[in-house]
Amino acid sequence: MTALVVGASAGVGRALSEALAANRKPLLLAASDPEDLNALAAHLRLVYGATVVTVAADARDPEAFAERLSAVAAEIDDIDELYFPIGFSRRDDKAQLDADASLAILNSNLTVVAAVTARFLPSLLRQPKARIVGFGSIAALRGRKANVIYSAAKRGLESYFESLRHFAAGTGVVVQLYRLGYIETQQSFGQRLLFPVVTPEQVARHVLATEGRDFGVRFFPRFWQLIALAVVWLPWRIYKKLNF
């Protein structure tokens, strides 16, 4: 059985791919850049002896992306785990992006996840045990003036995973969404952040350690749960004055 990692080439996706390879899990890795994918695949094969197949495709075109993936997947072992550490944001995402730019963010964070899941869900439901893992963001807790479209996409992703979990209830498919706090990636690099960052490797270890647990949604790191409570319940008259 093979694990599919969508958005595998950097950050959490790369760390997750490495952790899965270290666990001897055959991998189907997807990302936009063939050079990044080839480097990662070579490393995983040489260092871990992993079986790795790659697909380079553009997530901004979800239908074509899903089509390419399912064509390649048809040639290999059955998929029983889907991981979506995919995400795309822009620092100028401040409520003034045009339709194309907005759609690129929505497609890369949400639509492509739905499109790929739709392709693989029938076979996952036939498995005695399977897993679909999404990665949300604390940016989705409450709308704010930065990361406007990105936050909307991530909140949409939460709703999508809630529905998916409901749909898969009673089957062997476990649906999990990790709401990630600050992660040491390009998104957070060089920013002054209020709370500690964790490494992609820590995220990957946590995801693998919580396999099979039907918790629905979980914060990582867990302390974000308390911060989330404070953010959500903060009165509007105070919230609107925050510059973040």
Partner: protein, 451 residues
Amino acid sequence: MQSRDGVPRAAHSFVSFDGGVRARGYLQQPDRYRFWRGRLDETPRISRGAGLSYAGASFLADGLSVSHRAFDRVLDFDSGRNVVEVETGITLSALHRFLSPRGLYLPVQPGHGRISVGGCIAADVHGKNQTRDGTFINQVEEVTLVHPAHGTLQLSPQRDAELFRLTCGGYGLTGHIVCARLRASAAPIPWVEIRAAPFASAEEGFNHLRGAARDADFSYTWHDMSTAGDGFGVGFLIQGSFVPQERAPGTTPGIAEAPVLSADGRARLPVPLLNRLSTRMLNSLYRWQQRSAHKGKVVALADALFPTHKAQAYFQLFGAAGFREYQAILPYAATASYVDAIRSYLRQKPLPITLSSAKTFAGSRELLRYTGDGISLALNMPAGADADMFMEFLDQRIIEFGGIPNIIKDSRLPRAVVDACYPDAGRFRETLRAFDPKRLFRSDLSERLKL
């Protein structure tokens, strides 16, 4: 700060590992190949590996340091020829973890596993038996170099040999060294027997060292120079050789992750703990510890390659003020005079020499490569005005005796000393300027030495 190449830049405070140079600049940490393929702007820049250089080789005040940290993968392995291709952000320790189970290792590597392969190429470092193995360039088959004006270049001893030799030992000034193909050597067994043989004077130690370099896989001396009185220069000849199969432990040693080492972590103690008294105690303790190795002790190959892993607290004892290292190759004929000069100086102006260690070197001098025939002697001491005065004294002795100082070990080394000691310094500058007239790749080290 968002840059034209799409990868964020962050203001960053840099410090050399010895604590001697501090600078504010910008740090960028790309993690995708499109960065190298894309249009790099002409901001003065330099690559940064582990950031462990004693000199300020990976940063520049107001300049851009491009971290290779995310480019740390094994890309290819030719088991027939023992050639491995890696991204140059890979650490020596990670590479050793890959090579060791295949019965291979890199004979030329410095003493800490956190150092990156890129840093080793850029400084053309030496290992534990320079006489036999040469410097790091001897293991390099090919490098991939990225330069904004030249694009991506493949360099090897056969392909653009002059630029290859300028890059290996070029302190990162020819461009970003992104990938490298390295030739590994067979490690007959992952165990090494270490023997420490005592000697009564520095000169005796150097004589033993010359013989040991021919026979052993690893050889260096340790000297006690913490006092200029009786016992100055006494120490141990430390030799390591692969253990014969019949005497090897029946197990395979585990290879642990190299302990975290950084310039900031090294400087955590606000005050230095090494003074003349504690240095003498430290040296006595080390001599006592070596007793167990008189008859030989078997250690894992990784422990022999990276002895600093178990002694890195030593660097922290210097505290925030830092330390200085003076490493220089002296012609054999001059070693006795050099050691006498050191002893005379220390008699008049006592200074805690915390570490003194020597290796034999062989080879011809070329460009700014730290190589040549003779004895390479390294001296450590706490940073400060006394240390700087002592190092200026050593600068003059090195010029007088026809030696060369190690550029990558000294964040203070003046241009005049380099020009006096390295006959090819002018050629290095000319060749570099011919390749890169705008001199885009710059560092604190290159600015100081006007490279």
